[in-house]
């Protein structure tokens, strides 16, 4: 007992001395703090560790959060021989041990040498509080939100005090709102009647799930009928809003799925819709676009963010060239024989698949998502959208309107439309129809490649990527009406939203089956799709 006290005194003495020094000349470096903390944590005395935790926070040490996390996860060990701290995942002989200070890795020789730095419950609470405190003052808004949410999980007086202090200086609206909710939850149980009424109105205006739970509890517990009705009204309002946002979220998911469908199908809308060529290798052109993204990322591993942007034109060119090669090598001999074209291009698709399998291995390749595409766009506590879904929708619309512009406003577009409507007449007017065929097919294939870039951000890039999309793509084009790229856009979005609307009660697979069955039936009713072509071209 006495020895403990002496040790504690010694340690505190060291600490006090250090504090004096640091306050005095501020010359103490982070490393010295770390050494000191190491000495304290290695000590078998619990109070020493409390001091160490405090010390890290006071020094505002850059590695403080890391060390706290390690302590909470029980991953911090010390070696009984050298009294140094090590980070160890698994204490077995031969496993790596990372020295906390020097960051050097060594291998564990004997298990018995290492002892875990154990902390008690009080210290855990202390760490959480310190972490929250640090979090509440963090410069990044997301971290502050996380800290408030952490505190709301266990809303005791300490936590409330912290929040109340931070609330005063907080400027960001979202964090303030969250803090207000936290405080209102407390007022609901502790405040007087007027305060409770205010709290109800604060909670009623927020969609924070914890606030709703607090209101539900309040309704059950309160004995004041007026406040009870008020709280019930607030709950009804919250539930209505939550339902609305859930619906909005479903529509958003549907639109993003629809965008993927449109992207995959729009190249087909050109080759199939405008030229009347059944290109079963379309899916493989998408796959080539996805692999182009992969290769470009391998070429510029340090610029992932940029690589996706570079991949868009690159994939357009690569897939476009492959498409032109297919057109020149196979399809041009088969114009006017759609069924034979279907078979021959299916052969091409098999060859391309196997080629990719031989070059890149049959395993899936992972394409990294650039940082600017990850993360969420946060609207309110129940409605947040991921950036990559949002970008897909925007990207899809961009590609669509660009394509529309090319088809409607350029010389190539005019010639394409002329040839698709009446080949003989167009030739008579001096359009080089062979060249137009080639360019159109190249354009459609290039767009497929661009779709591949987008898909590489959403799914696995593998040799079967194309096959997964070919049937969907045909469905979208046929549903929308062949020869009409507006139809493709509407059809893709409709199918996407319909799919997501059905998913909650039918499940993903059944939803897909239902959509397929619906299209099969729809084609019976309107064989030319949603927006049929009119006039002579439709009779072909």
């Amino acid at each position: 007992m006495t020895s403990r006290i002496i040790r504690w005194l010694l340690a505190s003495g060291v600490l006090l001395a250090c504090l004096a020094v640091s306050a005095g000349i501020q010359a103490q470096t982070d490393d010295q703090v770390l050494l000191e903390v190491q000495a304290l944590l290695v000590s078998p005395n619990a109070p020493d560790k409390t001091v160490a935790i405090e010390r890290l926070a006071q020094a505002d040490h850059p590695r403080a959060l890391e060390i706290y996390a390690l302590l909470l996860d029980s991953k911090l060990y010390f070696n009984r021989a050298d009294d140094f701290l090590y980070v160890i995942d698994n204490v077995v002989e031969g496993a790596p041990a990372l020295a906390l200070l020097s960051q050097e890795t060594s291998l564990i020789e004997r298990r018995r040498d290492y002892r875990r730095v154990a902390i008690n419950n009080a210290q855990r609470t202390q760490i959480r509080r310190v972490m929250a405190q640090t979090g509440l003052n963090h410069e990044r808004m997301e971290v502050r939100v996380g800290a408030v949410q952490q505190l709301m999980g266990d809303l005791d007086q300490d936590a409330l005090t912290l929040i109340r202090e931070a609330y005063v200086s907080e400027t960001h609206g979202r964090v303030r709102d969250l803090m207000a909710v936290a405080l209102a939850i407390d007022t609901l149980t502790s405040g007087d009647e007027a305060a409770q009424r205010d709290a109800i109105s604060v909670l009623g205006g927020s969609l924070e799930p914890r606030g709703r739970v607090a209101l539900v509890r309040y309704v059950e517990a309160t004995d004041q009928p007026r406040l009870k009705t008020l709280a019930e009204q607030a709950l009804v309002g919250i539930d209505q809003q939550v339902r609305f946002y859930k619906g909005l979220e479903t529509v958003f998911f549907g639109l993003s799925m629809g965008s993927v469908l449109v992207l995959a199908a729009i190249g087909l809308a050109i080759t199939f819709g405008v030229m009347g060529v059944i290109n079963m290798a379309h899916g493989e052109l998408i796959m080539i676009g996805a692999y182009t993204t992969f290769v470009i990322q391998q070429l510029m591993p340090n610029h992932i963010g940029l690589s996706v942007l570079v991949a868009v034109p690159a994939a357009f060119i690569v897939s476009g060239l492959v498409g032109i090669a297919i057109e020149r090598g196979v399809i041009r001999f088969l114009y006017g024989r759609p069924l034979e074209t279907l078979l021959a291009t299916f052969g091409v698709s098999l060859v391309l698949q196997q080629a990719v399998r031989s070059i890149f291995s049959p395993l899936n390749r992972s394409v990294q998502t650039p940082e600017w595409m990850s993360g969420m766009l946060h609207f309110n506590p129940v409605f947040a959208v991921t950036w990559n879904r949002l970008y897909i929708i925007l990207f899809c619309l961009m590609v669509f309107f660009l394509l529309l512009l090319i088809l409607k406003r350029t010389a190539l577009g005019l010639q394409v439309r002329a040839v698709s409507q009446n080949r003989a007449m167009a030739r008579a007017m001096g359009v080089r129809s062979e060249r137009v065929d080639m360019m159109t097919f190249g354009l459609g294939s290039g767009v497929a490649g661009i779709a591949g870039v987008a898909l590489s951000q959403l799914t696995n890039v593998g040799p079967n990527l194309g096959q997964a999309y070919i049937i969907d793509s045909f469905m979208v084009v046929v549903f929308g009406g062949v020869g009409n790229i507006w139809g493709t856009l509407v059809a893709g979005m409709t199918l996407g939203v319909a799919n997501k609307l059905m998913e909650p009660w039918a499940g993903a697979v059944l939803a897909k089956i239902l959509v397929l069955v619906f299209i099969i039936l729809f084609i019976q009713k309107r064989p030319r799709g949603l927006f049929p072509q009119r006039g002579r071209a439709a009779e072909g």
Partner: protein, 359 residues
Amino acid sequence: MLWKLIREDRGGQILLAMLLLAIIAVPLLNGLPSDHPLHIPTYTVALLGKYLTLALLALSVDLVWGYLGILTLGHGAFFALGGYVMGMYLMRQIGERGVYGHPELPDFMVFLSYDSLPWYWLGFDSFWFTVIMVMLVPGVLAFVFGALAFRSRVSGVYLSIITQALTFALMLAFFRNEMGFGGNNGLTDFKDILGFSLQSRETRLGLFIASAVALMLGYLLSRYIIQSRLGRVCVAVRDAESRARFLGYRVENVKLWVFTLSAMMAGVAGALYVPQVGIINPNEFSPLNSIEVVVWVAVGGRATLYGAVVGALLINYAKTWFTTELPEVWLFALGAIFILVTLLLPRGVTGLLRRKEAV
């Protein structure tokens, strides 16, 4: 009467003669001692039987594609349905010999904690009921699908695409455990058929002979159809659908009956296929399989019937050879066959042998 069907059909005469020869010769050669140079191992007998069922499938596709001009990319669905029906019978035959030893429920149902057989599994313990269903199930699906599609005059590429969607939708559906068909494992671990063990040499030979006989019957039936008035209307529909309609023929009825019949033939092929390979799973529905069948027909020579059989046998033999010897090359080879046949051999390999004649 039978002779009349194939009198002008040299290819058919040769084919039927070969099949007859095979029915007699294969059991004899299989009976030879195993070190004899002409001995055919039982394993090969099963393989040949499998080829013959696939040839029957190709024949059914040629009937609708070659003579009606319907490029079906979903005939694999009818084949697989016939297979599943047979699979259900074979599952019921297992009885108490399953892993869980349940007297009535197949293993996967015990595993998924069913307490009784779903209603659509009832009756499949009877062989004759199964035989009827083998034809009825694909037939009804083809009838309903065809009635819808042909009445509303969905034709050409659109029809191809929706047949593909049909088989794709069925594949997704059969992958679901809730369907009650074993999910993605399908039906397997069959023990015996009509009381004969599926592993025994005699059963294998029996199945081989049954397949050959089914192929011969299928061939004669197809010949009968195309030689009849109906057959000539079929060709008229294929070559000029609008004109046939304006001449007063009910085009959609012609299409519907031939399509349904062809689906039933595919179902029979599937039912004979399953006991010989010992498994049926949702991959049989995959759109790739159906397209492959079309290529067999194209390779053999469209609208000849015997060409479909030749194509199916050739490509499947090539597939077996490649997938054991050079697995990486197989898809290259198959793809190349697709391209080359459509570009260079529109009449298929049998077209090389035929004199220039009106098809």
